[in-house]
C-alpha cells in the first residue's frame, strides 16, 4: 500500500502533465501555423509572417460573421440567464405541483441529440410562420443554454442563507426591494458564471446555427465554409488563434470578477470575538 502511494506521489505529477499536454498541445498548433508563410500546415515552417492576421479585417464576410456571432451570443446569454434566474428562484424558494417534471423538462436538452432537437425546432419555427434569421438562432441557443444557466443559478440561490431574505423583509423591505438589494447581489457570482457559460456555448455552437440560420452565418458556420478551400486555411488558423486568445482573456476576466463577488458574499469570521 505504501509502495503504491509512493509510486503515485512520484508519477502523478508527470501523468497529469502528460495528460494536459495531450489535450492542449494540438491547440498550440493553431498559433504556430497561423504565422507560416505557406498555406500547408507542415513542419518545418517555411517562413514567418503576420500577413494572415492583417488580412482578416479585410474580409467583409468574416467581419459580418463575427458580428452575427456576437449579437447571437450576447442575446442568447442574457435571455438564458434571465430565464435561469426565474427558474432557479422558483425551484429553490417555492414548492409547487409539477416541480420535478418542470425541472426535468428544463434539463432535457442536455440529453437529447442536438441534431434531432435542431431539426425539430426548425420544423416548429417554420410551422409558426417565422422566417429563419439570427432571431431563430438565438431561440435555438437559448434552448440549449438554459440547462447550464439553471444549474449554475440553482447552486447560486441555494448557496446563501435563506434568512437573509427574511431579515430584509423583517426590516421593512418589499419583495422586489429584497430581490434587488439582497438576492441579486448575493447571486451575482452565479449570474456572471451563467452569462459566461451561455455566451461561450453560443459562440462555439454549430449544429443549431446551421439549421436555424437564414442568410446570416455565425462564425462557426463561416469557418466551416472556409475549410473547403485549402488556400483559406491560414486565415482560418489566424482567426482561430484570435478566438482562442480572446476566449482566454474573457474567461480570466470573468473569473476574476466572479471571485471578487464571491469573496464579498461568503462569510469568513475571526475566531476571536
Amino acid at each position: 500500500m505504501k509502495a503504491l502511494r509512493r509510486l503515485l506521489a512520484n508519477w502523478l505529477p508527470a501523468y497529469a502533465f502528460l495528460y494536459i499536454a495531450f489535450l492542449y498541445l494540438p491547440v498550440l498548433l493553431l498559433p504556430i501555423f497561423s504565422i507560416n508563410t505557406t498555406a500547408s500546415p507542415r513542419f518545418p515552417l517555411s517562413g514567418y509572417t503576420l500577413q494572415w492576421y492583417v488580412d482578416l479585417p479585410k474580409t467583409p464576410a468574416l467581419i459580418d460573421a463575427t458580428e452575427n456571432s456576437l449579437i447571437v451570443g450576447i442575446a442568447a446569454s442574457m435571455l438564458a440567464t434571465i430565464l435561469g434566474i426565474c427558474a432557479a428562484r422558483a425551484v429553490t424558494r417555492y414548492r409547487f405541483p409539477g416541480q420535478r417534471a418542470a425541472s426535468g423538462l428544463i434539463m432535457a436538452p442536455l440529453v437529447l441529440p442536438e441534431v434531432i432537437v435542431a431539426i425539430a425546432l426548425l420544423i416548429v419555427l417554420l410551422q409558426l410562420g417565422l422566417s429563419l434569421s439570427l432571431f431563430t438562432v438565438v431561440l435555438g441557443h437559448v434552448l440549449i443554454c438554459v440547462p447550464y444557466s439553471v444549474s449554475v443559478l440553482i447552486s447560486g440561490f441555494e448557496g446563501f442563507d435563506r434568512s437573509l431574505e427574511e431579515a430584509s423583509a423583517d426590516l421593512g423591505e418589499s419583495a422586489l426591494g429584497t430581490f434587488r438589494r439582497v438576492t441579486l447581489p448575493m447571486v451575482a457570482p452565479a449570474i456572471i458564471s451563467s452569462l459566461l457559460v451561455s455566451f461561450t456555448i453560443s459562440l462555439d455552437e454549430f449544429i443549431m446555427a446551421f439549421f436555424l440560420t437564414g442568410t446570416e452565418p455565425t462564425l462557426p458556420i463561416y469557418i466551416w465554409g472556409q475549410l473547403r478551400f485549402a488556400a483559406k486555411l491560414p486565415g482560418v488558423l489566424a482567426l482561430g488563434t484570435l478566438l482562442l486568445v480572446g476566449s482566454f482573456i474573457l474567461l480570466t476576466f470573468a473569473e476574476i470578477l466572479r471571485r471578487r463577488a464571491e469573496r464579498r458574499t461568503r462569510m469568513t469570521g475571526a475566531a476571536i470575538a
Binding site: 427574511e166 423583517d170 421593512g172 423591505e173 448575493m186 469570521g269
Partner: protein, 357 residues
C-alpha cells in the same frame, strides 16, 4: 401588549402549536423555553409574520395581525444565524431598514451611530459584513433591529452559536440593554439558565403546548408538573398519594419523607389520587456529626461524583424506589464522604414541591 389567543399551527395531521394562549406585557423580557420541536420558534415566527396561524389570532397592541405581512409589523427580529448581509459593511447593515424611511442623511447617520454605541460596536462601521466574528455579528444584528425602534424585539436563540464565556457575557448585556431601551423582548431558547437569568417571565413549552407561564423563581421552585421540573435542572421525584387538599396547600403521604404538607403550586390540576413530590438536589443538605434538623431523612451513600465546585452524592433511602441525588458545595468536605457511608440529609419543607401526575 402581545395577545396570543388559541393559536394552532398544523401541518396536515401534525400540530406544531396546539391551542397556545398567552399574553406578553409591555416592556417585559419574556422567554419561550422548551426542547427542540416544542413549537417555540414557530410561535416566534408567527409573531414576526413569517408564518400564519392555522387557527387563532395574534394581536399586537390590540391590533390583530391577520393578513399583515412581516415587513409591515411593528416587530424586528434577531435571527439565529444573525443573517448579516455579507455584501454590505456594518454601517450599511445597520442602516438597511432606515433606507425606506428616507431620513435626512445626518439624522440617519446619528441613529446608526447611536445604535452602534448601544451594542458597543462604535468604530467598526466600515468593517465588511463577511469579516465579523460571531459575537460581533450578533451585536450588528441587534443594532440593526433596534435602530428601527420596534415595539417588540424578537430573538431566536441568539446566544446558541457563541462559546460559553461570551454567552454569559452577552446574557448580562442583553438584559441591561433591554432595561435601557425599555421595549418588549421576546426570546426563544432551549437553555434553562439563559431563560432563568434574563427573563421577567418564562413560558415553558412541550409538544406545541404551553405547560407553565410564571416568573423564573416560580417556575424553578414551583414547577407545575414533572416535565417542567425535569427540564429546569435536576429534580428528585418521589411517589406520593394525595391525602388532603385545600385552597393554598396540599398534604401527601410518601414512603420516605412521611406525611408532608406544602404549598400548592399555581395551576395545579389534580389527576386522581396520585401526585409526585419533588425536591431539588441542592436543597438536600448533608448533616455532619452533631448536626440535626427538624426535617431529615437517612440513608447510605452509593455513589459520589466530583465536579469542582460541587459534589453529587447518590443516596439510597429506605422506602424510596429511586435513590436521591444530592448536590453539595465542597467547602465542608462533601467530596471526602466515602461511598458506602451512612448519611443524614436535612431539608426545608418549603423546598418540597407537589406536582400533578
Amino acid at each position: 401588549m402581545i395577545e396570543i389567543a388559541d393559536v394552532t399551527r398544523s401541518y396536515g395531521a401534525f400540530k406544531a402549536l396546539d391551542n397556545a394562549s398567552l399574553t406578553i406585557r409591555e416592556g417585559e423580557f419574556f422567554s419561550l423555553l422548551g426542547p427542540s420541536g416544542c413549537g417555540k420558534t414557530t410561535l416566534l415566527r408567527m409573531i414576526a409574520g413569517f408564518d400564519q396561524p392555522t387557527t387563532g389570532t395574534i394581536s399586537i397592541d390590540g391590533q390583530p395581525m391577520d393578513g399583515i405581512p412581516a415587513n409591515r409589523r411593528p416587530t424586528n427580529m434577531v435571527f439565529q444565524s444573525y443573517a448579516i448581509f455579507p455584501h454590505l459593511n456594518v454601517e450599511q447593515n445597520v442602516a438597511y431598514g432606515l433606507k425606506r424611511l428616507r431620513l435626512d442623511p445626518k439624522e440617519e447617520r446619528r441613529r446608526v451611530d447611536e445604535a452602534l454605541a448601544q451594542v458597543s460596536l462604535t468604530g467598526l462601521g466600515k468593517r465588511g459584513g463577511h469579516e465579523l466574528s460571531g459575537g460581533q455579528r450578533q451585536r450588528v444584528a441587534l443594532a440593526r433591529a433596534l435602530v428601527m425602534r420596534p415595539k417588540v424585539l424578537l430573538l431566536d436563540e441568539p446566544l446558541s452559536a457563541l462559546d460559553k464565556k461570551l454567552r454569559e457575557q452577552m446574557q448580562v448585556e442583553l438584559r441591561s440593554l433591554q432595561q435601557a431601551v425599555g421595549i418588549t423582548f421576546v426570546l426563544v431558547t432551549h437553555d434553562q439558565y439563559e431563560a432563568l437569568g434574563m427573563s421577567d417571565r418564562i413560558a415553558v413549552m412541550f409538544g406545541g403546548k404551553i405547560a407553565q407561564i410564571a416568573k423564573p423563581k416560580e417556575i424553578y421552585q414551583r414547577p407545575v408538573n414533572r416535565q417542567v421540573a425535569d427540564f429546569l435542572g435536576g429534580m428528585n421525584f418521589v411517589k406520593a398519594e394525595i391525602v388532603a387538599e385545600n385552597g393554598a396547600s396540599i398534604t401527601v403521604e410518601t414512603s420516605g419523607f412521611g406525611r408532608v404538607t406544602t404549598d400548592k403550586p399555581q395551576a395545579f390540576i389534580r389527576n386522581g389520587k396520585g401526585a409526585t413530590l419533588g425536591i431539588r438536589p441542592e436543597r438536600l443538605r448533608v448533616l455532619w456529626d452533631g448536626e440535626s434538623s427538624k426535617f431529615e431523612v437517612g440513608g447510605k451513600v452509593v455513589d459520589r461524583h466530583y465536579f469542582g465546585e460541587i459534589t453529587h452524592l447518590i443516596v439510597d433511602v429506605p422506602g424510596l424506589e429511586k435513590p436521591l441525588s444530592v448536590s453539595e458545595t465542597n467547602d465542608f468536605g462533601a467530596d471526602d464522604i466515602p461511598v458506602g457511608a451512612p448519611i443524614r440529609l436535612g431539608y426545608d419543607p418549603d423546598a418540597l414541591v407537589a406536582m400533578a401526575d
